[in-house]
Symmetry: C2
Subunit: 244 residues, 2 copies
């Protein structure tokens, strides 16, 4: 048996997220069906991050076990020949038995992209959240530092999240401005359900002057979801990298 690791890029627009759901198009579903077409085996593919519906990935990582003797390049070519064009296998490689895309992951980096301009974008509409309001980007940039470190992120988790432990460690968090485009980039050991999207929704309240950087910090410390902002729409979010 071979343990195969895939690096996967996808445009999440047309999918109901990573995880298999009966009767709905999902990334995991398409990858598993394609692996079955290639190998003839029932394959279970594990992903590093279970991205929500509409969320994209440049660097999702997945792995699966197969008995099929096929060179990694042939796997990659077969996947890309059979997958729809909005899912691309960027790399396929054999990894040691102990490797599990989810459990072995040390760090994940996500990016959330915002277009802060009066009019939306036609070309980038699927990966930029359009915010026409004037935003105080300096305050937003000041705010993100308070996310760094180990915290109980209960204030920024979905009500129906089922992780038993809400403590996560954030290694880096940055907020960059390039013209009308704002990018929030966060690296951590893991993220709670909807965590980054709720953080972004709350950051936008800081940008609109409804909250100060200090209040944002208090919301984090309150561990109370009621105090945080709305869950930002999924399409601005992209899983950039998973480190092992």
């Amino acid at each position: 048996m071979h343990n195969l690791k895939l690096s996967v890029e996808y445009d999440g627009t047309a999918y109901h997220g990573w995880q298999v759901q009966p009767g709905l198009p999902t990334i995991q579903g398409f990858l598993q069906e394609t692996a079955k077409r290639i190998s003839g085996e029932e394959v279970r593919i594990t992903g590093a991050g279970r991205t929500d519906a509409g969320v994209h990935a440049l660097g999702q990582v997945a792995n699966f076990w197969t008995a099929k003797d096929l060179a990694c390049e042939s796997w990659q070519r077969a996947f890309n020949g059979l997958l729809p064009p909005d899912i691309v296998v960027r790399r396929a490689e054999t990894v040691p038995d102990g490797f599990d895309a989810r459990r072995s992951a040390k760090q994940k980096t996500y990016r959330y992209s915002i277009l802060n301009a009066p009019h939306p974008s036609a070309l980038d509409r699927h990966w930029l959240l359009h915010i026409p309001d004037r935003l105080d980007v300096a305050s937003m940039a000041d705010t993100v530092a308070s996310l760094i470190g180990e915290h109980d992120f209960s204030a920024f988790r979905a009500a129906d999240g089922n992780s038993p432990n809400s403590v996560r460690r954030v290694y880096e968090a940055s907020f960059l401005t390039q013209g009308h485009r704002l990018e929030f980039v966060i690296t951590g050991d893991g993220f709670l359900k909807h965590m980054i999207r709720i953080v972004v929704g709350t950051l936008l309240d800081v940008g609109r002057g409804r909250l100060t950087p200090a209040t944002f910090r208090k919301i984090l410390e309150s561990k109370d979801r009621q105090h945080a902002g709305k869950t930002a729409r999924p399409h601005g979010l992209c899983l950039m990298e998973v480190s092992y």
Copy 2:
């Protein structure tokens, strides 16, 4: 009557090009129908460049005449509220009577974007031409200088192009490499039908070593379409800017 100038961004993927064609979705068609819904008038919208099916624009310019007394900002908001999300009016402004988006245009800038990597891109698949072959980008960059100046571009025009004059002036032509992404940017007083796409197809033959920069120049001088390369696919092309 008011002469209204629009700056328009669009994702050409879903459209049969700029120009109205009965029964087919086109950019001009959607803009005209929307202007009619806003004003109640039959409106004829003139575009600076008649982009092909699948070609995009960040800075297409158009104009039309209307009797409707409506502030420019209201026109813009109404357009963006009614147009599909892949067409966006970035600016609307009143211009002097003599202004005609096509005839008054002095220069147009187009960009053609290529992904030169073993695997395609999922996220950028609609605006990058994927070329997995190894390309000699230095030779491609050397070649583009021969386009600059006034030339008879008959070698690089579609057989069915109907412009009576095949002489055009190219002001700037550059070929830039950024990682796996290659960008050909060209500015001229106008372009023949399929001209940029045939130039790119021929440039790719230089990249693949089938032609030298010197042969490219001879093909241009031959004025014979038979000697040039294939017409590159439309989706890498984007109308960036029109100057007046």
